[in-house]
Symmetry: C5
Subunit: 376 residues, 5 copies
């Protein structure tokens, strides 16, 4: 088979074993001792930022204040302000800060525990006074060709939205920009619409991740077809695990958004509900795409195995044909290489050409036989 | 095995790798930046037509006007006309046009966004004043042996139906003909019946696609049985992906039609409901056929692998039989080809014929042994 | 392994490729152009009878009239007769006949379309004035070892039952006999009980088909275990497809019968409901058996592949043992067959027996080694 | 690999082909012609007893009468007696007996038909005057290492319980003993509690069967790991089929018991309901165990195939290493065994030892190369 | 391929066969004879402790008494005490003790039977006067690299909680510590909160087990990629069985906790319900992780098989290349090693170098051919 130049093969540098190692553990290390009291705040992730960063945006239809504050105390007054406030906390290792906010705003201890326990599934919990939402954020890392996962906690109160992230840098720049510039829709609406906008941005970003995964898959598909190697199947396995972990993130997210739509939570106006339905459709689409990718990758594993089996078969044919033709001939040559004193044939003058002719006939017959069997 | 002439093998010209490349990306490239405001109109597909084409048919039981208009303004008056109007817009790259229509008819921004964002799943959304339906249209491309997908958006208002397609040319010629000629049923009924007729035409066309896929499958089935090659498994894989993408299109379509039937949308009269039930049955039939084809293709992959394994086994038998018979004989010949001074056998007069006889016995014994094992 | 005489192997004459070809197309050819008006009557099957045959049985508890009529007009009077009438129409290519009946009895156009569009899924549709039921009939063809499928349409009116079949000859002879002879239950009850009796006969006949399939499966099972060949896996594949198409017929049939039981259709008396529950149990049993057969056939494919792999392994062992023993010995013989002038060993008197002894030791050592590895 | 002594291997005497044959047909032979009137009594099983055996136990809290009667007439009086009566009929071929009982007690014809049609799924049917329950009984046969299936029909009337079995001998000895000895709970309660006790005994016996199957599975697991043979995979297949048929028996049984618990059948007192919940839990446990066993057996098939593939790989390594080392050396020996007149090397005095050295180097190099590849 | 040093391979000492044997039987041996009266107490496990240990903690917000009592009589007074009592019974072989407690506290006989019948699925049963909960506890055994399962029975009465375990030592030390030290939440609340705290501790401990399983899986994943052996697939199989048995434990546990949340059991205050929801989320997370691990392990089996197939393919290439190059050359050498008198070539002076050149050309041609095929 002529080998077409590969179009978009996976970069060779990515070692699948390394890739799997980097992908992180299948099971997150438990941090709390079993039996610990609920509400005990233990940060379960790695410390990803040096200092916790607190940014707030306070706005109504007419005005907007934005600031980066060194300390949580600046936010405490927002509890009762009539404007909408969005406080974004980046970095979760400072459990005292979370504790202090929780006490001031009257959040449930389990909620505080969940904020700092990263690695959770998407969930929606309604407590008195606040709606608590956990959403896993994915970001495509073009270097490792993997999706980085980060936990976003979102608290929707009467006039405020708090977001807690593991590190600085997020997918919300578009939302911030809309808040700053367009005085229109987003500024005129309440914190429920802001919540929608944030979740929407998270879900939209899943498509970016899927795009990366999709390209990786197509590259591997070409590799399987053109030149399957031992690394290929390992990369397929790594890709399958990656898809599995994305699916584990998206599945509960879809349920969460669906229950936001279904439930008559009074926190969301009818107008926002229409937009939430749109997010739900996107989440369903993401999940559907992930499932399709899983199907394709499974098919690629079958393709790989079948291709390798077929090639083994081809190789065996060559070996069998070569061996079957020459082994009998070599035997014949061996016979007349024996040193018996009494071998009358050796003295016949036409014996040698006759034997050569016989060998030709045998070899030719073999070739014909294998050609009829389709092995040649 | 005698090889029967193949009945309807897949044309050899179709290169599976090319086929997969053409099939389009697994994941559509995201166009909008995450965090963009909802209702932002960005056309997500390729520009498939030079100029947007607008055709309208305006009719009641007695009269019918049909025109191709250069500009959207001609359609604006239809909003309040008592006749039924069907406006068909082919080409989606002109987002201003969509925007202008939307403002005039009072459509929701999310609806406008969805019209130009192609590659969506089938969906049904009820907004104030209009029902919005997205349906993926499939058309069988006899050259590439693949189904081309196109997004159809359908808006059902009080007295009008709008359809938005990605390119000129569709599956609605039958409906247009019925509108023009038969003054009977379709002309006497409202826009809800027209909506039914359009969706029905889309679903009917799925059967044409399935027919093409079915023939392809049968051709490949024969190829797998008669002469499995490396290309065969790649074509099977391409077929599997094709079926997967059709299934992704049909599954939500079935749900959509089912919810049209189930929901008591007041837009559909009881009479039209009967016909919608018929469409639902067709959609279920399509899905059922797709699933059956997937099952058959999966079975063909197993068949391929088992056939290849079996053939490897057959090849190994030949090699083993040949080698097992001649290797010991060659060894014997080698022994008496040695040049030791003191090899008494060499001088015995009957040694040569005796050795030949021994070789015959050994070879014959091997043949008998392998015949008893069923390898010959 | 001793090969037991096969008990009930599949007849060798059945060529799997032929079998698959005969099985009919995976996807039935679409006849109507997409976009055709609903209610357009186009017969979608092959013309299976020369002339449409119309038979009617008109009965009440006391009397029974039975006739074969040349023409539909004889049936038209049955619409309002107080007796129960069963009209059986065999042959669907005469769409005018169906059209004329439809107009007389006031049947819905979609119903008429469905009667002549064969290849549909089982369905139940309630229209004003009549209940319309489609049931796929299966009959076991002992020659092709396949199930022939035929579409039965059944229309249950107030005092009549119409049945439409594709060809003459059916599974209703038992029902006719009961009507003729036993004046008891079936004659004393209404058309709803007759409907039950007909569906019951169809479902009972599924068991006959399954019996045939079951024997085929057992024969193939034995073939896989005793003597797997290339044809075996193809037959397994054909069997799998056969089961798939039976399953596609039975699955909606079960739903149909279940909804007959569940729905409070007033057409069925409480007494008949009890009997319908019995049919439902039979349908469930059929489906359950089909699923079990599919499971068994899947298992047989695994069995086949594993058996072939195991045998390849056994063959490889023989080859490896033979080659590993004789290749080194042949090499040794080759060394002493060289013609160097200065090979002192050649002149030693005990060199030849010593070499033979060495060869024996090497060969014996190999045999021991392979025996310890369990390869001998 | 050292082979540990097998702990509990499957007895070698069980021939898997025989085992599958004995297991009975996949699909029970249909006895009734399709179209036969419902309520026609045809015994569908083999005649398993010479004479039908009728035993009855008549009891209340104070007294108990037990008898084996030759004839059904002794039981007829029980219809209206105030005591609880349990009549156990062993043997189903005597359809007149069943008919006579049915007429006397007013049982529905379908019920009578079901009693003699063995091979049915578990079902629960409420008729006027009696509750009819079909339960498949399984008994572990330690000789054939299989479960024997038998159909138990149970009729619960106001003051009586009838049980119909295919043959003499059952799992109810414990219940009989409790009736005879303990005057306590079981005697003080009504026929509903007796019904519970009988079903409970049936379900408890499933655990005995599963225990047998479990041991068989563990034995096979060891065989697959220690010494996989061709018989092993056939035994696995037989085991899989066995599990499949047990699952087909248990699945509807679980549904039956669940609906006994869920439905508010007035025949069961609240007190008995508590016990029925316990039976339901047991049925769920049985099903859960069957599914787990199926999972394990599936895993064993993968294990088998992978193990065989791995061993083929190992065998190939040995062959390849042997052949690759000696084939070039033999060639070299062959070259210097040629009889050309003009081969200067033959006359060089150090040619022979030099060639031997070269051969050593080549052979050693090969060994090193294969060792680095990990093939040695 | 360079073999990187393995990071965390499974310790070699663990023999997979031994591991599977230790894992315990697939089906627990039935202890009770079928037909035994319900409520008969038979301990179905092994006797794991010498003497039953009874510990109680009696507390309210102000005071706490803790004691280890030799005898059950000390606990009997707790029935009506106003304080909350937690009695922990370790060891189940002493059925008289359980019987005596049951009679004193008025527990249902089925409840007592379940306490001593270990190996049950998680279940929740509400009886008059007490809620009965069965939960399987898992503990990670770092020596055998397996999870040990133990049955926990929990009885929640009005003012008391009883726990029954199979052996001494549990996961409740954290809860005991919180009871002893923190006078706060847990002491101030009722037995429902204590029940929550105990179940929470059990579920938290599942994460510890999963962590162990996860590490094992990662180690095996590396082994499959770097150096797949026969043991590897056996270990994978053992791991799969381990995961299967964990899944069988967790699945009903999740249902149990869900029904605790869903049901409006009056035993749980609204405040405790919030915490139970948290436990439910954890149980869902555990199950989700188990399913993901199962997926990964399945993928590893495919990976193993594909890797082995690929390596066989590579080995075959080497063999085929070596054999195909040298077999024809050896044949040629054999020809000129024949001893015919009349072989003119033997006397040509340039015959020997010409033949060597020819051999070089043939060999080189082969090498080029195989290189073009990509086999070299």
């Amino acid at each position: 088979m002529a080998r077409p130049k590969s179009r978009r093969l996976v970069p060779k540098a990515v070692n699948p074993l390394h890739q799997i190692r980097v992908m992180g553990r299948l099971v997150r290390r438990a941090v709390k001792k079993p039996g610990t009291a609920p509400g005990t705040l233990v940060h379960s992730g790695e410390k990803k930022v040096e200092r916790t960063l607190i940014r707030y945006i306070d706005y109504d239809a007419d005005e907007l204040h934005e600031a980066e504050v060194p300390d949580v105390s600046a936010c405490l007054s927002m509890k009762d302000s009539p404007t909408v406030s969005w406080v974004d906390v980046d970095g979760l290792h400072d459990v005292e800060l979370v504790q202090r906010l929780g006490e001031h705003f009257g959040w449930h201890p389990l909620m505080l525990e969940d904020i700092v326990s990263v690695g959770q599934r998407a969930k929606l919990e309604e407590y008195d006074g606040a709606l608590y939402i956990v959403v896993p954020m994915l970001r495509w890392n073009a270097d490792t060709l993997q999706a980085d996962e980060e936990q976003l906690s979102l608290i929707l109160g009467d006039r405020y939205v708090f977001t807690f992230q593991e590190r600085v840098g997020d997918v919300f720049d578009g939302v911030r920009e809309r808040l700053r510039t367009s005085r229109g829709r987003i500024r005129a609406r309440g914190p429920d619409y802001l919540t929608y906008a944030l979740i929407d941005a998270v879900v939209d970003n899943y498509f970016v991740v899927l795009e990366g995964i999709g390209e990786l898959t197509e590259g591997l598909e070409e590799e399987v077809i053109v030149d399957p190697r031992e690394h290929t199947i390992q990369r397929l396995h790594a890709l399958k695990r990656e898809l599995l972990s994305i699916r584990r993130a998206v599945w509960p997210l879809r349920d969460l958004v669906s229950s936001l739509v279904r439930d008559e939570l009074e926190r969301f106006t009818d107008e926002t509900q229409v937009f939430l339905r749109d997010v739900r459709d996107h989440a369903v689409h993401v999940l559907d795409t992930v499932e399709a990718l899983r199907d394709v990758v499974s098919g690629m594993m079958d393709l790989y195995l079948s291709t390798v089996s077929f090639r083994t078969n081809e190789i065996m044919k060559v070996l069998t044909v070569m061996a079957s033709i020459f082994i009998p001939l070599t035997f014949l040559a061996g016979v007349y290489g024996m040193n018996f004193e009494h071998m009358p044939e050796l003295h016949w003058p036409w014996a040698y050409p006759a034997l050569l002719a016989l060998m030709l006939v045998i070899g030719g017959g073999m070739v014909l036989y294998f050609r009829r069997k389709g092995w040649l």
